[in-house]
């Protein structure tokens, strides 16, 4: 499988080389640059703040370990980190798809102007949005976070998730429609009050 070198900073490879040589500042740069997206990715999947932090730490600790060993990433660091994050989450959750239940009382009433569905979606708070996302299957959550949230390319997402390009295309399609279904249900519930 041809791995396209991502539009990461070309300087990143240089950074990696320095990091490999135990250059602490290079490693810290990597940490500072990549911590937010990795943390985002994890935090959306894990309810507990502390747990999310621990898991995110784990990802970077694994980077440190990998740098010492043989499996240090030499390019596509972002993909590497997301893969590790994914694995860390899988280990944490097991392989089952986790669904969280949501209570209807949490949902805000929908505004009435414009296309109801879209208006409703726009009015959703971040919390609600997260709840809705969590009701998706794991793969579906991931693809949405990576493709939309992190704006990663199809190819990179496929690499991270270990899937084919067409599989990711189908997955994202289904994920979005499932999400719409969930949101639609919520909207209905709200409308009926």
């Amino acid at each position: 499988m041809l791995v396209i070198i991502l539009p990461d900073i070309p300087a990143e490879d240089q950074l990696l080389v320095r990091a490999r040589q135990n250059d602490e500042s290079a490693m810290l740069q990597i940490y500072d640059y990549y911590f937010p997206p990795i943390f985002q990715f994890i935090r959306l999947r894990v309810d507990d703040q502390q747990q999310a932090e621990d898991l995110a730490s784990d990802v970077f600790l694994k980077l440190v370990q990998a740098m010492h060993g043989r499996n240090a990433p030499t390019h596509s660091l972002r993909g590497w980190l997301f893969r590790v994050a994914r694995n860390v989450l899988h280990d944490y959750y097991g392989k089952e798809k986790k669904f969280t239940t949501t209570t209807l009382e949490e949902w805000l009433p929908a505004p009435t102007s414009g296309d109801p569905e879209i208006q409703f979606m726009r009015s959703l708070s971040v919390e609600r949005m997260r709840h809705a996302l969590k009701m998706l299957a794991t793969d579906q959550q991931e693809v949405l976070i990576l493709r939309f949230g992190q704006t990663l390319s199809l190819q990179e997402t496929a690499d991270i998730m270990g899937k084919s390009l067409s599989a990711v295309k189908s997955l994202q399609f289904r994920a979005v429609n499932t999400l719409r279904g969930i949101l639609g249900d919520m909207h209905m519930e709200n409308a009926n009050g």
């Binding site: 703040q49 932090e53 296309d115 959703l124 809705a132």
Partner: protein, 414 residues
């Protein structure tokens, strides 16, 4: 069912959005799908909105950074050489190519718990098979186990060991096998059945303090005299006959309270040997293949003589009989039957073999006849107390009180 083109169009639009374009830009490109794509893209964009707040992220980042820095500064762990499959295969091949002798030589000095110990034991098993289970070899291996155990104890190393040999009791919970002292909890299953001079197999563990603690114990057999006893009861073998206790064996009348040095099997007279109070063992009819070598300690030479109450009779084993069903029919436990008759290997009985059973064995007998205390049909847990008491009682029941001058309970050894 879904239009392939729609799926692709959707995908394209996602990329467009990622590049900073708007939903409308995308819909202009795919007007034919505009109606469908719009809500989908809006929904997808919500995933972007489901972001963690920047402050939360920043806090988490700050907290994690220190940890990260610590991890960076820790010295690199020693390189773990991951074994590749190719290397593993080559290694296995190499091992095969090495002569097995070479490996077993290397294993020779290993102790339980060492990596090569299994090789050592395997080698021994192979040797035993080849030698046709030569008893000399077996004895040699048993010696080895004992030596290994000594080494482990001296090293203060914890390991599991298995020992086989003749055992003697020192006190309530201390036993001796060869020159090893073993702690045996009297409540261990089977521990109660064990008497001095029994051949046992013990699984034990060595401790750091240099003690040996038994975990399981299994009776393998009793030492047997080499000569047959001449103390057969003179009565005929009818089940109504009263079997007189062997005359001299009524040293039963003197249940010893302390381990007495027992006479060697070679003596012709019936000997009463007991290393435990009330534990009289008389020479028994079926010679046993077990080693008759008395353990080194002078207190533990034991010959097993069937000792039975006078109302027991000799019974000739018939085809189809099993010891357990005989025991059951007689209303005694199997252990008792074995013990009284000094049978150590319940698997080897022959048709025509003579054993002693409570009178009236062909029909279930009543416990009262023997006046055993609460002797009900198989109650395996009640063996000890009753067994030894019964064994003491080889004279008529009435005289039992006299003869059981000493408490014959198991706990009273030594």
């Amino acid at each position: 069912m879904v239009d392939r083109d729609l799926i692709d169009a959707f995908n394209e639009c996602i990329d467009l959005l990622a590049a900073g374009q708007s939903i409308d830009d995308c819909l202009r490109r795919y007007p034919q799908y505009a109606d469908v794509l719009r809500p989908m893209l809006e929904a997808g964009l919500l995933a972007r909105r489901a972001q963690v707040s920047p402050t939360e992220t920043a806090d988490a980042q700050a907290r994690g950074r220190a940890r990260f820095q610590d991890a960076l500064r820790k010295p690199a762990p020693p390189r773990v050489y991951r074994l590749s499959w190719a290397r593993l295969a080559a290694g296995v091949l190499l091992v095969f190519m090495l002569s097995s002798v070479g490996i077993s030589l290397a294993a020779q000095d290993s102790l339980p718990g060492d990596p090569l110990y299994n090789v050592k034991r395997l080698t021994e098993s192979v040797q035993l098979v080849i030698s046709g289970s030569s008893p000399t070899l077996q004895a040699a291996f048993e010696e080895r186990r004992i030596a290994e155990t000594h080494t482990l104890l001296a090293l203060g190393r914890e390991a599991q060991v298995t020992l086989e040999g003749v055992i003697t009791q020192i006190d309530e919970a201390t036993w001796q096998l060869a020159d090893l002292q073993i702690q045996i909890d009297p409540t261990l299953p089977d521990a109660v059945l064990i008497q001095s001079a029994d051949r046992v197999m013990i699984n034990a563990r060595t401790t750091r303090q240099g003690t040996l603690i038994a975990e399981t114990i299994r009776l393998l057999g009793r030492t047997q005299p080499q000569t047959l006893p001449t103390v057969r009861p003179s009565t005929t073998l009818t089940h109504t006959a009263t079997v007189l206790p062997t005359a001299t064996s009524t040293s039963t009348a003197s249940p010893t309270t302390s381990p007495t040095p027992t006479s060697r099997p070679a003596s012709a007279t019936p000997r009463t040997v007991s290393s435990t109070p009330g534990q009289r063992i008389l020479a028994t009819a079926p010679p046993n293949a077990l080693s008759t070598v008395a353990p080194p300690s002078p207190t533990s030479v034991v010959t097993c003589l069937p000792q039975h109450p006078d109302d027991w009779i000799e019974y000739s084993i018939q085809s189809g009989d099993t010891l357990s069903n005989l025991a059951q029919r007689s209303g005694i436990t199997l252990e008792r039957l074995l013990r009284v008759n000094c049978i150590t290997n319940a698997d080897i009985i022959r048709v025509g073999q003579r054993i002693y059973l409570p009178g009236g064995t062909t029909s279930p007998s009543t416990p009262d006849v023997r006046t055993e205390p609460t002797r009900q049909p198989p109650a395996p847990t009640q063996i000890e107390q009753n067994n030894t008491e019964q064994r003491n009682n080889d004279v008529t029941p009435q005289s039992r009180p006299a003869s059981s001058a000493t408490p014959a309970s198991r706990g009273n050894r030594g």
